[in-house]
Amino acid sequence: MAGLQQKAICTLPKSGVLLHDVIVTELWILSLVIITALAFDFTNGFHDTGNAMATSIATGALKPKLAVALSAVLNLLGAFLSVAVAATVAKGIVNLDSITGEALLTVVFAGLVGSILWNVFTWLKGMPSSSSHALFGGLIGAALASMGFSGVAWGGVLPKIIVPALLAPVVAGLVAAVGTRLIYKLTHQVPGKTKETGFRWGQVGSASLVSLAHGTNDAQKTMGVIFLALVAHGAISPDSPMPFWVKASCAAVIALGTYLGGWRIIRTLGKGLVELDSPQGMAAESASAAIILTSSSLGLPLSTTHVATGSILGTGLGRRGATVRWALAGRMAVAWITTIPAAAAVSALCWAVAHFVGGAAGMVLVFGVLAAGCFVMWRMSRQDPINPDNVNDDWEAENDPVEETTAARFSAEQNSSAPLMAVS
């Protein structure tokens, strides 16, 4: 607020000029929050592409670029289809009712920054993680920093965050395992080629459904955040319908993020966790689609990432002799547990900086930190880039030291007689 007060002293004591400065400052802040919200939406997009498409890309049912394009279009469609009024963001988890105006915008802004940084970090590590949890964590951290203990509705944390997070992968795994077992039992006699082709088509269908479901579910988060910011600014009332430009921008941005495709995460889901065949791929995505749609309609929204990962693991369990990399699954579980505390810590820190520097200057500073952090992480990702061309490479050779030696020796022998194979 220091910046605002200085302006008040320096300008002529005409009420019109003073009001103008206040409005301009607040507009700056609002714009920054909206831009940051859309940035979160973007990370949400590329983080979750794999949930729908990783299995189809891994089995070759869809070519990588086609898969992400299809997913992007369906996400766009889904986002426009989501008619439900975007409920107050993180209602029942954080108590945002008690603050208004610039204070509220600062909390929301800091929350977004924390969640974006976590999303980009987990992307760098190729770790699927819940964007919903990242956002919750960010808002929790900022709310705690600004309001103390009462900023969080602790009674809501267990039923709305912890229980769904524990149940989602288990339920998804169960459904996928049952589906996989049934599929293999029923198609025992079916000739290989028919089976492969048939289930590839099944994969395309089920993956499309997951993309559509994702679009209807996830774009709403950002719509809700922007809506909240607009209400805080006073541009609209809490009862207003969702402005079309909010819906359109959130839809477009999440689709763009989806199209860019978090290849690092796609690779982990499609090749890292389980060695998949088409039937398994279809079983996994069908389970995911059914669970995501059912749970959101029952008001028990589960994280699409938790569900999709659980399904993929379950499909490994459902098929006899399938490879499941439990060590990786364990690392993922750690990442999931860390999500909320980590995002909360970062956003609490960001809130503190924004608050104590004050006004638009504080937020611009934090925004600069956000941009710098993302840039650094992006540069780090270029050291071992994953893209459509190497997303389907064998997992073993790269990540298992023992296998790497064997692979290196093998390719050394090959080099003398065959053209060099591309190494990622």
């Binding site: 889904g78 289809l81 008619v83 439900a84 029942g92 267990l158 039923p159 709305k160 229980v163 769904p164 149940l167 339920v171 998804a172 169960l174 459904v175 996928a176 049952v178 589906g179 049934l182 599929i183 029923l186 198609t187 006699q189 079916v190 000739p191 028919t194 089976k195 048939g198 289930f199 099944g202 269908g205 089920s206 459904l209 559509l212 479901a213 209807t216 039937p279 279809m282 079983a283 069908s286 389970a287 995911s288 689609a289 059914a290 669970i291 749609l293 059912t294 749970s295 309609s297 029952l298 008001g299 028990l300 589960l302």
Partner: protein, 83 residues
Amino acid sequence: MNIADVAGSLLKVIAVGLLLGAGLPAVFALGLRGVSRTVEIADPEVPGEVLTRTSRTGMILGLLCFGLVGLAVVIGIGWIILN
């Protein structure tokens, strides 16, 4: 939403999840089984030899299964739109 509500919704999610998430792929698998079923008939040209051709009943039942899956998907999408 308290724990009892969550438990109730959870059971519903499991039930519908199994029915649609595991059931529909199973029906799809049945469909594949149907359309790939073959029957053997005596070779009219070479006595003692058999030929195989795709079973007509298999094909019909198989396509019915696919139709059922397709219908479920369309209903599902319509349901998303309306909700």
